[in-house]
């Protein structure tokens, strides 16, 4: 079995250790004997969504995000088809904001991909914190770090989790992130996946299911991962 992971525009969207998410998916495949190929796409490259099993859209600075959002219009249709066809996506921070309809900033509106029904508004101050969230579908807390000026509103969509500690989408409604088909959108970096092996395996299982019709993943020795997870959860979510 083989999974192909597409990393969109790492030159521009690579804030906050996003490389760690890629590394984590790759290693957790390899340790199970699943081949994993990472394809990096630059702004000038054609993104062939039909070849991809998982897409990572990371975070960038506002300025860099603006550059990317011009480009995204060109791939919007293919990206949408991929999402509607249950392609796996992990979108973090700026990438998460780009999933929605728009991001209103002081300098004007940044059009998003409209892949998920959500929108973002700039706010002040920046929301910066260690974060712990909960979601019954995930066996164990999800931990990470957030740092964003935007406030995101997900309407009727399912959140990625309920905030136990930190701010989440907007610091108001207690939601963090979004789940839509096989898309995970979140403000959590840290990076997200290494300390949350259950989330990584969720993305991998979804991708395997879509490609090979199986969700079966060999169990790994995740003691170190869970120790690091528990450390954050216990320290910040007493």
């Amino acid at each position: 079995m083989k999974l192909i992971i597409g990393h969109l525009y790492p030159d521009l969207l690579n804030l906050y250790g996003d490389r760690g998410n890629i590394q984590c998916m790759k290693k957790r495949c390899e340790w199970r004997g699943i081949e994993a190929e990472v394809r990096e796409f630059q702004l000038t490259d054609q993104v062939s969504f039909s070849d991809l099993d998982i897409v990572l859209l990371g975070g960038g600075s506002d300025r860099e995000q603006m550059i990317v959002c011009q480009k995204l219009k060109e791939i919007q249709k293919d990206f949408r088809d991929y999402v509607e066809d249950y392609g796996s996506v992990l979108a973090v921070c700026g990438g998460y904001q780009l999933l929605g309809h728009y991001y209103d900033t002081d300098d004007g509106r940044m059009e998003g991909l409209s892949l998920v029904d959500l929108y973002t508004q700039q706010g002040s101050p920046r929301l910066i914190s260690n974060v712990v969230i909960e979601n019954e579908s995930f066996d164990g807390p999800i931990v990470g770090f957030e740092n964003h000026g935007g406030r995101t509103y997900i309407g009727e969509n399912r959140p990625f989790g309920r905030v136990i500690c930190g701010y989440g989408n907007n610091g108001e409604d207690g939601n963090e992130g979004v789940l839509y088909r096989n898309v995970v959108g979140t403000y959590l970096h840290g990076p997200l996946l290494p300390k949350n092996p259950h989330v990584c395996d969720y993305l991998l299982a979804n991708a395997l299911d879509r490609k090979y019709g199986t969700r079966k993943l060999e169990p790994l020795d995740d003691r170190q991962e869970w120790e690091a997870n528990r450390y954050v959860a216990e320290r910040f979510a007493r």
Binding site: G20, Q23, R63, I67, S129, N147, H189
Partner: protein, 453 residues
């Protein structure tokens, strides 16, 4: 308000002494209180500096560059006010002056060398306008404090515009720094390394600013020295690395560092290519203040700042190098410096997440730790508050590490079973405590073998 000034100076000195006796640094507190008592203290004291005031800014290399510059000015007989400890926000800057003042509230100084945290420049410059700013480089660092590198650049830009006559001594090889300085309208002096040096590994590094800040086009690079430091040019608008005023050439990294600038050969017992830039930046600034090249070289030979930047210790026969590494660019350069030492070695990595470190440690994943998969690396020990994250980081490049959360226990373990050559890489708040532990152990060891550099 002379009474206020006196009271301010005395209280600062009292607090500093009391804190030192209690084993704490206390510089920040002393500065805070001094400013509270006399808000004009920094303005008044800095105005008494007879010649030039230098400030040093930039993500990495501030402390080393600033201390080198201070030592160079002193080597020519100058009296210098300097924030040696690296306390570089407004209170730390105020404390440097207050603690340097005499009990009569007067300061006897020819120069001031002050490193300032980039975000604090706009808070310090209302108190005094420096004559020179050294701008070393701009990398991602402590993103939770500043938001993003763009925000840091905006703050520095505002600071430069607050002091339009200030000369900016800038690293020509860093596109971000050069863009900032060249667009500021301030007069500029540049330094750089114009030729590609041999065997600097081409890394899969995270590089900032790959896109032209002026027009947004992707920059072309003829070569990189490290991170985004190199020879760049914008194919669209022509923005490019300028010809440097102070050029380092003939760089030799065999045993320490040596290179030629203005026809003079400089030598320093430091490892690490990034130290070429630190020495070159300090040299450029010192030359502008009239320091003679020979005095500078002589100063370098004795330079031992004892501040945890490549600082050496010998304990129970084990040679130990302590070095600060607080962001991806710094850490990658640190790894290069460790690997330049071809001997067997043990490594301890100490990671904290206190406020001054940046609460967010995700940058660990932007460091190329896989390069430590070398035969000469005997063992890696992870320690400090976030040792769990560090162990996980190593696990995901298939390098095993031992977790010992307590730093002293970790050091003692490697003194006992290590190979006698130990590197301790620490981030910011771990530096002071780790340095204290090493100094104490070295003293207790007694035999104390004189430090060889």
């Amino acid at each position: 308000m002379r009474v206020r000034r006196l009271l301010s100076v005395w209280t600062a000195k009292l607090i500093s002494t009391a804190c030192r006796m209690a084993g704490k640094q206390g510089v920040t507190l002393a500065g805070k209180v001094a400013l509270r008592i006399d808000p004009a203290i920094l303005r008044d004291l800095s105005a008494q500096v007879r010649k030039e005031i230098f400030v040093v800014c930039g993500t990495n290399g501030k402390t080393t560059t600033n201390n080198l510059l201070c030592a160079a000015l002193e080597a020519e007989g100058g009296k210098v006010v300097c924030n040696h400890t690296g306390s570089n926000m407004l209170p730390g800057v105020a404390a440097a002056f207050a603690l340097a003042a005499r009990l009569n509230g007067r300061i006897d100084a020819d120069y001031a060398c002050i490193e300032i945290d980039e975000a604090s420049t706009v808070r310090v410059f209302p108190h005094f306008k420096p004559d020179y700013m050294v701008l070393t480089n701009l990398f991602r660092d402590q993103l939770d404090r500043y938001g993003e590198i763009d925000i840091t650049m905006e703050l520095l830009d505002r600071a430069m515009k607050m002091a339009p006559e200030m000369k900016v001594i800038v690293n020509a090889d860093d596109a971000l720094s050069w863009y900032l300085a060249s667009e500021s309208g301030n007069p500029c002096v540049t330094y750089g390394v114009p030729e590609k040096t041999a065997d600097t590994p081409s890394l899969n590094e995270i590089r900032e600013g790959r896109f032209c800040k002026r027009c947004g086009e992707r920059l072309d690079y003829e070569f990189y020295h490290y991170s985004q430091i190199g020879k760049y040019r914008c194919p669209n608008c022509g923005f490019s690395r300028p010809e440097a005023d102070f050029k380092a050439s003939g760089i030799d990294m065999g045993n320490g560092i040596s290179f030629t600038v203005e026809g003079h050969r400089l030598r320093v017992g430091y490892r690490g290519f990034y130290n070429v830039y630190n020495v070159l930046a300090a040299y450029s600034a010192a030359r502008l203040a009239g320091v003679r090249p020979r005095s500078f070289d002589r100063m370098l030979a004795d330079f031992n700042p004892q501040n945890g930047r490549m600082e050496k210790f010998v304990i129970e026969g084990t040679e130990i190098v302590l070095n600060l590494a607080k962001n991806p660019a710094g850490f990658n350069q640190n790894i290069s410096a460790v690997l330049e030492d071809g001997r067997e070695k043990d490594i301890i990595i100490v990671i904290n997440d206190n406020a001054q470190d940046g609460l967010d440690i995700s940058w660990l994943w932007d460091v190329d730790f896989d390069r430590l998969r070398e035969e000469s690396v005997r063992s890696i020990t992870v320690s400090g508050i976030r040792c769990q994250d560090m162990r996980l980081r190593m696990k995901y490049v298939d390098i095993p590490s031992e977790l010992i959360q307590d730093v002293e226990t970790a050091i003692k373990a490697r003194l006992k079973d290590g190979c006698g050559n130990l590197y301790v890489l620490v981030n910011y708040t771990a530096l002071y405590s780790t340095r204290g532990i090493l100094a104490r152990l070295e003293k207790a060891d007694g035999k104390g073998l004189k430090k060889s550099r």
